[in-house]
C-alpha cells in the first residue's frame, strides 16, 4: 500500500483541544435545572439529564425528589411505577424506595436488602425552577445555586418557554455569547444593524464571561420597542450578557427613553434567563424566561414578548441543529475559523474545558 503523506495541522491552542466542544466530558459538579417547578408533581415523570435517566416527583409535603430512573434489580424504569405516599414502587417486582433512594421492601424476599439502594440526586426548588446536582453529592452545596430571584419577584413579570434541542450545550452557550449573529439570524426581533456594529466590551469575572454593549441614541429593537411603545423614538440601549455557569446564561437589556412624556428619562429593563441542561453529549434541554420591570399587567406585552422570543429562539434552535447536523454528517473535517467577536465564546469554552478536565482528574 502506498504511503500517504499526512497534511500537518497547524498547532494553535484551539486545535490542541483546550476548548470545550461536543466531545468534552460534561461538567457534572454544577447545579442544573431539572425542569419548571410546575412540571414536577405527584405524577412521576422521567427526563434524561447529563446522560442519566432520572425519575422526578414530589413528596406529599411537596418536596421535589429525583432518583435514578432505573430499578437496581432489573433496570425497570421507576417512573413507570407508582407512588404510595412518599414511597416509589417499582412497576416490575414491587421493590419500594424512599425519597433518599433507600430500599424499604422487596416483596419476594423475606428481608429488606440493605444493598439495594437507588441513586438519589440532590434537588432544590427556587421560584419557578427545580435545580438538580448530578455530580458528586458531597459537593451539592445549595449556596452554589445561581441567583434567579427576579423570576419569583412581584417587581417583575415573566413570559417563558422551553425547547429540546439536538445540539450540544457548549454550542448553545456560544450562540448566546455571540450577538453578532442577531441582525442576520434574528432580523426584525433582537437584531438591528446599529447594534451589530456597536463596540463590545468583554471581561472575565473568575469563570464568568461578561459582555457589554452601550448603544446611544439609536432606534430600539422591535422586541422591546413594540411592547413598550417606543418604536417612534431613539433610545439609549445598554445590554449585558453573561455566561454564569454551564447551566445558566443571563442577559439584560436596559432601554432608556430620554424623551418620556413625564419630562424625566424613563428606564425599561428586561432580564433574559437561559437555562441549559445537557441531555446527552449532543442534545440539551432549554428553558427561557423574558422578564420585564414595566407594564407588568399588560397582557398584550405578554403576548408580544412571548411570540417574539419564541420566534427568535426557534431561529437559534434551527441554526444550532443545522450546524450540529453538518458537523455530524460531513466526512471532511474542518477547523472552524475564529474572529474577534468570538472571544467571549472562546473564553467560555476554555472555562468549560478546564472544569471538565479537573473533574476527569478527580475521577468523576
Amino acid at each position: 500500500m502506498n504511503q500517504m503523506t499526512a497534511i500537518p495541522a497547524a498547532a494553535s491552542p484551539l486545535e490542541m483541544g483546550r476548548f470545550a466542544d461536543q466531545n468534552t466530558p460534561l461538567v457534572r459538579n454544577c447545579w442544573y435545572v431539572a425542569g419548571f417547578a410546575d412540571e414536577i408533581s405527584r405524577d412521576i415523570i422521567s427526563r434524561r439529564l447529563l446522560g442519566v435517566d432520572v425519575a422526578l416527583y414530589r413528596t406529599l409535603a411537596g418536596e421535589p425528589v429525583a432518583v435514578r430512573n432505573r430499578c437496581p434489580h432489573r433496570s425497570f424504569p421507576l417512573a413507570k411505577g407508582r407512588l404510595e405516599g412518599d414511597v416509589l414502587v417499582c412497576g416490575y417486582h414491587g421493590m419500594q424506595f424512599d425519597p433518599s433512594g433507600r430500599c424499604l421492601a422487596m416483596p419476594s424476599m423475606p428481608i429488606v436488602p440493605t444493598n439495594a439502594n437507588v441513586a438519589a440526586f440532590p434537588t432544590a426548588e427556587r421560584g419557578p425552577l427545580v435545580w438538580i446536582w448530578m455530580g458528586d453529592p458531597d459537593h451539592a452545596d445549595e449556596a452554589l445555586i445561581p441567583d434567579t430571584s427576579w423570576l419569583a419577584s412581584p417587581e417583575w413579570k415573566s413570559v417563558r418557554g422551553a425547547y429540546h434541542i439536538k445540539s450540544d450545550y457548549v454550542a448553545m452557550h456560544e450562540n448566546l455569547l455571540d450577538q453578532t449573529h442577531f441582525p442576520f439570524l434574528h432580523p426584525g426581533t433582537v437584531g438591528t444593524p446599529e447594534f451589530a456594529r456597536s463596540k463590545l466590551d468583554v471581561r472575565l469575572e473568575g469563570d464568568v464571561v461578561v459582555i457589554y454593549r452601550a448603544l446611544r441614541d439609536a432606534p430600539p429593537p422591535g422586541i422591546y420597542g413594540v411592547p413598550m411603545g417606543l418604536m417612534d423614538k431613539r433610545v439609549d440601549r445598554f445590554s449585558e450578557a453573561r455566561y454564569v455557569s454551564p447551566a445558566l446564561h443571563t442577559a439584560y437589556a436596559s432601554v432608556t427613553d430620554n424623551a418620556d412624556a413625564s419630562g424625566t428619562p424613563k428606564k425599561y429593563r428586561f432580564n433574559i434567563t437561559h437555562l441549559i441542561t445537557p441531555e446527552t453529549q449532543t442534545s440539551l434541554h432549554y428553558w427561557w424566561f423574558n422578564s420585564r420591570d414595566r407594564k407588568l399587567d399588560d397582557a398584550e406585552a405578554d403576548a408580544f414578548l412571548r411570540t417574539a422570543s419564541e420566534k427568535a429562539y426557534l431561529e437559534d434552535v434551527d441554526a444550532l441543529e443545522w450546524i450540529a447536523q453538518t458537523v455530524a454528517q460531513d466526512a471532511e473535517p474542518q477547523f472552524d475559523l475564529n474572529f474577534a467577536p468570538d472571544k467571549p465564546g472562546l473564553l467560555m469554552r476554555r472555562s468549560i474545558f478546564e472544569r471538565a478536565e479537573a473533574e476527569q482528574a478527580r475521577g468523576l
Binding site: 433512594g101 444493598n115 440532590p122 478527580r362 475521577g363
Partner: protein
C-alpha cells in the same frame, strides 16, 4: 453479581493511635477508582500464611479535613483487634508496596442528602464512616452536630481533624478506661431538634443504646441509621473443611475467610451476590454437619436454620471439623 476485585498497592501508612493505623491504598495501574459516597465500605482481600485468605470490611475515610483523596486512592483506618487475626496481619505485614485486592465500594449506611439536620455519633474506630459524613455536611453547609466518644483521648483517631471540621458543632467525650462514664444517649437525643436524623457507628452496645434511647423517646425507627456488621467475623472463628460430595473436592476454609471466599479461591464457581447473608442466592444444600452450623445470615427462616439442611455460604460457618455439601 459480585464484580471484579481491584488490584491495589499500599501507598502510605500512618500510625493514628497506639492501636489504629491509616493505610492509603492506590490502584495498581494508577487508574481512577469508583468513588464511594459517605458511609461506603470496601472488602479488603489479602492472604496470610497462617490462616489463608483474609477478607475484611473497611469504611472509606475519603480524605483529610475537607480535602478529598486522589481519584486513584482509597484511605482506610485499621484497628488492631488481637494477635494473628485479620487486623493484626494487616498491621504486621502491610507496608508501602504491599499488594492486595479490594471490591468496589458498597454503601449500606448512606447519608441522606435530604436531611434537614444530622447528628453524627462515632464511637472509637466507628469514626471512619462518620468522618466521611462530617466532611459532606460541612462541605454542603448543612446543620449538624458531631459527637465522638472513646475511652481515652489518645485512642481517638482523627479527633483533631474532626473537631476542626466540626468547629462549635463538635464534641469529644472520653468515657475512661475501663469505660465508666458512658455517653448519655437519652439526654443527647432528647436535646435534638425534631428534624434531626441520627447516624451512629461504633461498638454494638453504643449502637443499641442509641436505638433504645430513640425508641424510648418515641422516635420513628428511620430517624436512627446505623451499620452493624452482625454477619462479620467473630473472635473465636476457627478453620474448618468443606467437602463437596458430588464434585469430589474438599476445600479448607480459613478462620478469616468465608466458605464462599474459599470456594472462589479454589476456582469453584458458585452463585452469589450480596455477600452479607441477605440476597439468598448462595445457600447450598447440606448433607452432613448441619447441626453445628453457626448461621449468620438474615435470609433463612428460623425453621430453615434449625433444620440445618442449608446455609448461606457467604457468612455462615462451622466451629471446626467438616461440612459436607450436596454440590
Amino acid at each position: 453479581m459480585h464484580g471484579q476485585l481491584i488490584d491495589m498497592v499500599v501507598a502510605g501508612v500512618r500510625q493514628l493511635t497506639p492501636r489504629i493505623r491509616e493505610y492509603v491504598l492506590a490502584s495498581a495501574d494508577g487508574s481512577p477508582l469508583p468513588r464511594g459516597a459517605p458511609g461506603a465500605h470496601v472488602e479488603l482481600h489479602t492472604h496470610s500464611d497462617l490462616s489463608g485468605p483474609i477478607v475484611r470490611h473497611y469504611s472509606l475515610v475519603g480524605g483529610q479535613g475537607l480535602a478529598e483523596d486522589r481519584a486513584d486512592h482509597y484511605r482506610i483506618a485499621v484497628q488492631r483487634e488481637d494477635r494473628q487475626r485479620g487486623s493484626a496481619h494487616i498491621h504486621d505485614t502491610f507496608a508501602p508496596g504491599t499488594r492486595l485486592k479490594v471490591s468496589r465500594p458498597r454503601n449500606n449506611f448512606p447519608l441522606d442528602l435530604r436531611d434537614r439536620r444530622s447528628l453524627l455519633i462515632a464511637g472509637g474506630i466507628g469514626i471512619t464512616p462518620i468522618y466521611a459524613m462530617l466532611r459532606s455536611v460541612v462541605r454542603r453547609g448543612r446543620p449538624f452536630a458531631f459527637v465522638y466518644a472513646g475511652r481515652t483521648q489518645d485512642h481517638l483517631a482523627y479527633a483533631a481533624e474532626g473537631m476542626e471540621l466540626a468547629g462549635a458543632a463538635g464534641r469529644l467525650h472520653v468515657s475512661g478506661d475501663p469505660a465508666t462514664d458512658h455517653l448519655d444517649m437519652a439526654a443527647l437525643l432528647a436535646a435534638q431538634s425534631d428534624d434531626t436524623t441520627v447516624y451512629v457507628c461504633g461498638p454494638l452496645p453504643m449502637i443499641e443504646a442509641v436505638h433504645t434511647a430513640a425508641r424510648t423517646l418515641g422516635w420513628p425507627d428511620a430517624r436512627v441509621r446505623s451499620e452493624r456488621f452482625t454477619a462479620g467475623p467473630a473472635p473465636d472463628d476457627a478453620p474448618f473443611a468443606v467437602e463437596l460430595r458430588r464434585t469430589g473436592r474438599t476445600v479448607e476454609v480459613g478462620r478469616d475467610a468465608s466458605i464462599l471466599d474459599a470456594l472462589t479461591a479454589s476456582g469453584i464457581d458458585v452463585l452469589s451476590d450480596c455477600r452479607r447473608g441477605e440476597c439468598g442466592l448462595c445457600p447450598l444444600p447440606v448433607l452432613e454437619g448441619g447441626e453445628r452450623i453457626s448461621h449468620r445470615d438474615s435470609y433463612l427462616s428460623d425453621e430453615e436454620r434449625a433444620a440445618g439442611n442449608t446455609l448461606c455460604i457467604c457468612v455462615s460457618r462451622l466451629p471446626g471439623g467438616t461440612l459436607v455439601l450436596d454440590a
